[in-house]
């Protein structure tokens, strides 16, 4: 928040007394803020998943969009959206996101918890796994939109002239000695040379995971060439753990409060 008092001309008001908060006052203020946020203590995120990762950057874009909306109302927001589209490509590019954002009370990004890729299954079918922890969603929040976001770079030279079929599956059941049972969520045909963010709607799956966390066995993606040959996600140009931080896959969910919370007056 601002420590300065501005008059109508955005100049600091000369009569406003500036003083530093005392330590205990600062602590009280911090407690108040955490209490409003509903947090038990100051968050301590893992340093390894730093602020320059794809998800935080995406969330920062959303935050800036909302902030400019608060400043400039609707006109300014649309302009900013258009400028983001032209300068940053598909990272935050669609009016659909705009609608999600306006409707949402909370947006949350989730990092992929699968540390090591098991790209080749025993049955010689390439696949890539994703797991997201949706178990700690505050009560009363309903998912209104949810996306898996993958960054695709230009494919490996071997398949450069191909079109690729990328399929996203929900893992329904896992088996120790054979392939997991999968449910196809979406298939999309892509140019091998295509570059940019790919967004897959996983709303139904996310809702299931929020309501019944034990069904959350993750997602799998598979890529095939036009001739039906299974290729690895790396060959297809999909960025994984060894790729750039700002291109790491992540999931984002938009929430809306479905219950009325009445805060007691203090």
């Amino acid at each position: 928040g601002s420590n300065y008092l501005f008059d109508g001309n955005n100049e600091v008001h000369p009569s406003f007394i500036h003083r530093r908060l005392r330590t205990h006052e600062k602590r009280e203020m911090q407690k108040e803020i955490l209490s409003i946020l509903g947090l038990p203590h100051r968050p301590r995120p893992h340093l390894s998943r730093g602020k320059y990762n794809s998800a935080p950057l995406f969330m920062l874009d959303l935050y800036n969009t909302i902030s400019s909306e608060e400043k400039n109302e609707v006109e300014g927001m649309l302009e900013q959206y258009q400028s983001l589209y032209t300068t940053q490509g598909p990272r935050l590019a669609k009016h659909q996101e705009n609608a999600f954002l306006n409707d949402a009370d909370m947006v949350m990004s989730f990092v992929n918890l699968v540390e090591y890729d098991r790209d080749l299954s025993p049955h010689r079918m390439h696949h890539k796994e994703f797991k997201f922890n949706l178990s700690q969603i505050p009560e009363g929040e309903a998912v209104t939109a949810s996306e898996l976001r993958l960054y695709k770079e230009c494919a490996n030279q071997v398949v450069i002239n191909e079109t690729l079929l990328l399929s996203v599956y929900q893992v329904v059941q896992e088996h120790p000695n054979r392939e997991a049972d999968l449910f196809l969520l979406e298939s999309r045909r892509l140019w091998a040379a295509e570059e940019g963010w790919l967004e897959f709607d996983i709303l139904a799956t996310s809702n299931l995971w929020v309501m019944s966390p034990h069904y959350n066995l993750g997602l799998q993606i598979r890529v095939e060439t036009s001739s039906g040959r299974s290729i690895s996600s790396k060959e297809a140009g999909l960025v994984g753990r060894d790729g750039g931080l700002e291109k790491q896959p992540f999931m984002v969910a938009f929430f809306k409060v479905s219950e009325v919370h009445i805060r007691t007056a203090r």
Binding site: S2, H13, S15, L60, M106, V111
Partner: protein
């Protein structure tokens, strides 16, 4: 604490622009004011402000229209002859957004509705 107050508490500390609806500072007395044309009295150290119906307060966390109204209510109760009842209230409230990491490195963007007073007006 009223004894310690600045004698100029009922005067604006900044020039008011285009206040066609409101009285000039010299005209302001206890028995001469219109609805929503009153000085909003601020505590010591804070600038007194003038409400012209859709007044634009210099707002920050502590100094918003609601706080002014509360302060003026208290001063009015102590000195009802000289200080009028407040007649302003927040009419336009905006949300703020907060972006933060949680312990699991999830990034959360949360909107809090009706947190910032953008404008105030008459009851």
């Amino acid at each position: 604490s009223t004894n310690k107050r600045n004698k100029n508490r009922n005067r604006p500390t900044q020039p008011q622009e285009g206040g066609s609806r409101g009285p000039k500072p010299a005209e302001h007395t206890a028995d001469h004011y219109d609805a929503c044309c009153d000085w909003i009295i601020a505590p010591e150290g804070y600038a007194a402000n003038y409400c012209g119906g859709e007044c634009v307060f210099p707002l920050n966390a502590h100094m918003n229209a609601t706080n002014h109204a509360i302060v003026q209510t208290l001063v009015h109760l102590m000195n009802p002859e000289n200080v009028p009842k407040p007649c302003c209230a927040a009419t336009k409230l905006h949300a703020i957004s907060v972006l933060y990491f949680d312990d699991n490195s999830k990034v959360i963007l949360k909107k809090y509705k009706n947190m910032v007073v953008r404008a105030c007006g008459c009851h």
